[in-house]
Amino acid sequence: MNVQLVGRQDLTLAAPASRGTILEVEDLHIAFPSRLGPREVVRGISFQIGAGEILAIVGESGSGKSVTARALVGLAGPGSQVHAKALRLADHDGEPRSLTGLSERQWSRIRGRKIGFVLQDALVSLDPLRTIGREVGEPLLTHGLLPRNEIGKEIETLLARVGIPDPAVRAAQYPHELSGGLRQRALIASALAARPRLLIADEPTTALDVTVQQQILGVFQALAKAGHGILLITHDLAVAAQLADRIAVMQNGELVETGPARAVLRDPRHEYTQRLLSAVPSAATRGRWLSTQGTRPAKPPQPERVEPILALRDIAVRFTRPDRSVTHAANGVSLHVHPGATLGIVGESGSGKTTIGKVALALRKPDAGEVLFRGHAWSQLSERQRRPLRRHIQTIVQDPLNSFDPRYTVERIIEQPLLLHTDLAKAERSARAQELIQLVNLPPDVLDRRPTALSGGQRQRVSIAQALASEPDLLICDEPVSALDVTTQAQVLDLLIALQHRLGLAMLFISHDLGVIRHMSDRIAVMKDGVIVETGPADDVFDAPKHDYTRRLLAAVPRL
């Protein structure tokens, strides 16, 4: 399937006629009512998008980037107050039309027709109860662009334009029957259906694996070449770097820096942009702190003893699907984690990396093979025999909110393992919780709060404190920073490394993010379809990948 070719060929036919500015935004303010009066979330931002140009607005969660995008189609949300000195969109004839003070009826003629909008995660952004064809054709029907009997043909053309093979077959299928990549293409096709000149894409590749992400980015590149103006909203600097002509960095409702992509990335002017850029983990960040940019001391030398703390030997895990077919989540997986060292497991969704984490934690019994933990036949013990050893192996998950009891205070959450594994008295437990919360760099007053009152980064620190309470030797970290913003991610990764140095922790670090894996790991195992295709020291695997899949994976990662 050649996305670029399919895209370019057909898109040239649909190229918007004129050049010049498509969207002009001047001094845009967006406020929401709150008990303390209107709360401004976007504070006077200005930008322009020209034909064939891709502008990326990059920012962390809460920066106001998504609400900006939605305000451009009049959907900033209930109660929102949107003001701008100028908000102009070029019509199909190239004449600018103002978007301020439009009625709902006027907006509905802009939406889809003049501005196409692509959201993230097409599994939930396409109506699951309707066929792909009906979803893609809806803008045509709504804006009355084609008679009903011609829509079917146009849908197939649109699906082909975004590189979907067998468009006739796909049009008759439902979203859940398509892969994530095809769904996202279909969503783009639906945004393109009414031939808008401007496309807004809000995190269009965030839910996708890197190889699929690469294909979708290719679709956007082809669309820009064909003359569409594209506003890309993303938290991912590397995605912006690869796709955008210009980058605007957003922080707290303001654009702190705007410029050509290369200039912003190579020579960031604003302190926040610099901080964002240096917080992205990569090959270059190994050996330095992410959040402060300082060099970090080398890891304390490990004893020469090579007895691994955790060993998996020929692990196989099979799942039986409802239709009785069998899938191998793991097949002949062998790996070792040494004391004080980090083994990174990297792979795309469905590769079996989370299953391996569960097997290591003895939460899932392998169908074949054995697990040794601290020399014990870990997978063969009964849970009763395992229990006294459990304190030595702890886990950190992607979103600890789900594993915290929302009624417990942070203190009680941290004290739970102490109650289970130690005989400490109440006052001693309380003192220990104080120590632990300081260890993860949180202020002591956090202890009295409940998990829902904490930010994502604070919650992840609490979960680290809880994991450390029983003084483990091994941490199983499953996507521990995937839900965090890049600057928060940097702080949590720094914390994990500092703790590893201080406490001599071993880590099994599972992630889909190659940059994070490279930054964190001593050794790396690359997983695909339940099999480890390549394993070795981090630098060797990244710099001289031996397996074809590793090479493809590395090539697909957008670079800064």
Binding site: R70, V73, L75, E104, W107, S108, R109, I110, R111, G112, R113, I115, G116, F117, L119, D121, V124, S125, L126, D127, P128, L129, R130, E138, P139, T142, H143, Y174, H176, L187, S190, A191, A193, A194, P322
Partner: protein
Amino acid sequence: MALRRFGIIAAVLWGAATITFVAVKAIPGDPVAILTGGENVVDAAEREALVRQFGLDQPLPVQYLRYIGQALRGDFGDSYQYRQPVLEVIGEAAGPTLQLAGTAMALALGLAFVSALATAGRRKGLRTVLAGLELAVLSTPVYWVGLLLLTVFSFYLGWFPIIGGEGIHALILPAIALCLPLAALLAQVLRDGLEEALLQPFALTVRTRGVSETQLRLRHALRHAALAVSTLTGTLFAGVLAGSILTETVFGRAGVGQITLQAIKTRDMPLLLGLVMLSALVSVLINLAVDALYLLIDPRLRRAAR
């Protein structure tokens, strides 16, 4: 799959028949007294003849087996009270009941759809008023609503007959009385379903295509909300088909509710068993229909069902 379904239906019907049989036999009392309308109305010879005629001299297991055997052939025996075949008795009552239940259900669905579509996630004032009305209707006994309707429209205005009557004219007030609580319940569930669907990310996508709020509801959200509503509609419909004793009583209508009441009062064993089997059958069929509807509405369920 189909065979399994059939097995489940058979098991449900058999279970319903058995439980009713046990329950009726467990209640103390003399069936002959019921047959003849009082204690010691007939002499020993007549009594013996009646007992033999209705098979009451047989041991219980034999009575049970004979009953089940006959039921399998669609023969539920003769009603004690009406002295005619049970199926005929039920058949006569089913007509008015079907009329009333069908009309009330259709009205209720119509009202619920209009109210929910108009107020789900918009028109805050109207939404509050309607939601309050629904709560009021749900917490008011149906006979009170019925009496209120009768007082206003039959006594004062004289538009409708007070008791009984024929044709559509006589159907209107009872159907309204019966439909109001159904409509209230359906509207609540439908509105919740719509509001949940409208919060899904796909609703935002649909809005960005320039689709109007009303079209978004009709083309997209309604189908999502229809899942919960179809289950509830099925359950409610099975309920009203089994007879609406209160509505029938207030408006003096014949129907399944009336004969059920009589059958329980007089312990008319064959009729009661026939009625239970009927309502079990109706439930099972409606459940089948709802399951089929689910597959029609949600394509994601189709593969699992196959």
